[in-house]
Amino acid sequence: MKIVMAIIKPYKLDEVREALVELGVEGLTVTEVKGYGRQKGHTEIYRGAEYDVKFVPKLKIEVAVADELADRAVEAIRDAANTGAIGDGKIFVFDIGQAMRIRTGETGADAL
């Protein structure tokens, strides 16, 4: 099994979720994060003081999938999250050794 972890623009969440669900994915977990990268932040001004806000709000999506689904999940996320603009984000994939559904104790692909 693998975890596909993607950093995306926040307003793309619904599209990404729908794309994954279409693939047959039944669950995923989302975290609010701040990203630093090529996309620039903004400047805030308070009376005399200027603050460069270097980080941009992003969402991190983590979805655990069976090995055979991983590539299609990556493609699905890419298609849904791609706008062609700087800051669209990244996708990383890594292996997991075990998965368990807490409610039932099922493990492996059944747990997803």
């Binding site: 805030e44 001004i45 308070y46 009376r47 005399g48 003081a49 603050y51 806000v53």
Partner: protein
């Protein structure tokens, strides 16, 4: 205006003999329910300026980890100054004394019974109305040392300051002291409240020192919605502050309200456009700061100038305070965290001087320089200087003495983690 009324009331309440001797005077001292209604209301309005007004205005500007500590300071100052005013402050500021300080005639409000009058209103109302001025002046100072001062040291400083600095200066101007007698005009507290708190905040900021990370770390206001609520309540409450300083519900109060409204709006727009031009964006902190600057500057003038004068004062205050907060402060490098000096100090000075220029005889009884009375400007400068010097020196000495006994600052770790958790054991989620 105010100390004039006060004098009348002292005369009028000096005993039945006086009253009986002069029926006209006696009549002036009869209770007027309309005046009393307005002064009861004004008192509520001015209290609202501090809690929740200043508490929120300041609370929104600090970092989230310090917001409870900040509102706590306004709230605690309100309580502390209330008790001290009752015990000794009112007596020192408003009972008969020398040219420099009132007496002990009203210690513990002695003799202030239910029938005591002050002009056409009960003296109890006058006493609480004045108390709310003592409260807000003290609360304003907390903006200068925000996010770093030890709570216990702050209470000591504010407590002593309100007795040793606020009460005398209030007496000088309104209680029968030498500034009022000299003819210095300060309708509602440009010197007593604003220059006073601005200077004290600056001195405190310098003595206590800069916040850790100042100039390097992001110290952006965490929630300007709170600041806007605060600024709005200051604005609304200021009607009680300025129009209430007429100590009557009459044309003088009405005109004071009108000029307050006009100057405030003008100053807010002036700051907003100045910022828009120089920093490309009009900010909500800017327009709110400008409004407060306008409120401050019109304060001494509110019973003396007309709508046109108010417009001028507003625009001047917006620009001067904007410059103070964005240019002067940067240049001098002090960390007056929430710009108390730039807004209240400079705004108060601007207003005090322009009162001398723009005063209209038909409105407040005294002409300004534009009506030929150039000397009034010098009188105003005299009042400004006396306040700055006395307040600056005594505030400095007080802080040094307190600092010799208790550390004025929290530890660096406390500062880092935030005053909310470290000093007060609470946090906002």
């Amino acid at each position: 205006m105010r100390h004039f009324l006060k004098l009348i009331s002292i005369l009028a309440t000096a005993g039945p003999i006086v009253a009986a001797a002069d029926p006209a005077l006696a009549q002036e001292a009869a209770l007027d329910s309309g005046d009393t209604a307005w002064m009861l209301t004004s008192t509520a309005l001015v209290l609202m300026m501090t809690i929740p007004g200043v508490a929120l205005f300041y609370g929104g500007m600090v970092r989230k980890k310090n917001v409870l500590g900040m509102v706590m300071q306004s709230f605690a100052v309100t309580c502390l100054v209330t008790v001290l005013w009752m015990v000794v402050g009112y007596s020192l500021a408003f009972s008969e004394g020398t040219a420099f300080i009132g007496g002990f005639g009203r210690l513990l409000l002695d003799g202030l019974d239910v029938d005591a009058m002050s002009g056409t209103i009960p003296e109890s109302v006058f006493m609480v109305f004045q108390m709310t001025f003592a409260i807000i002046t003290a609360a304003l100072i907390t903006g200068g040392i925000a996010e770093r001062m030890r709570f216990s040291a702050l209470l000591w400083f504010i407590g002593l300051w309100s007795i040793l600095v606020y009460a005398p200066i209030a007496y000088w101007v309104w209680g029968g002291g030498f500034l009022g007698a000299a003819g210095v005009l300060d309708f509602a507290g440009g010197t007593v409240v604003h220059i006073n708190s601005g200077v004290a905040a600056l001195v405190a900021a310098l003595v206590v020192g800069k916040r850790a990370g100042y100039g390097r770390e992001n110290m952006a206001p965490h929630n300007l919605v709170l600041t806007v609520i605060g600024a709005s309540m200051l604005w609304v409450g200021w009607f009680g502050f300025n129009a209430g300083s007429a100590v009557a519900a009459n044309g003088s109060a009405g005109m004071a309200m009108a000029v307050t409204q006009i100057a405030t709006a003008a100053a807010a727009l002036a700051w907003m456009f100045a910022e828009w031009i120089t920093h490309n964006k009009p900010s909500v902190l800017g327009i709110a700061s400008g409004a407060v600057a306008g409120l401050v500057a019109i304060t001494p003038a509110s019973g003396y100038v007309g709508p046109g004068g108010a417009l001028v004062i507003g625009i001047a205050a917006g620009l001067v305070c904007f410059w103070g907060a964005t240019v002067l402060k940067k240049r001098l490098g002090y960390d007056d965290s929430l710009d108390v000096f730039a807004v209240h100090g400079l705004g108060g000075i601007t207003g005090a001087i322009l009162t001398g220029v723009l005063a209209v005889e038909a409105i407040g009884g005294t002409p300004g320089a534009l009506e030929g009375n150039v000397g009034q400007i010098w009188l105003q400068l005299y009042g400004v200087a006396a306040t700055i010097v006395y307040c600056g020196v005594v505030s400095f000495v007080l802080l040094k003495i307190i600092g010799a006994v208790i550390p004025l600052r929290v530890s660096e770790e406390d500062e880092r983690e935030g005053l909310d958790i470290r000093l007060h054991g609470e946090s906002v989620t």
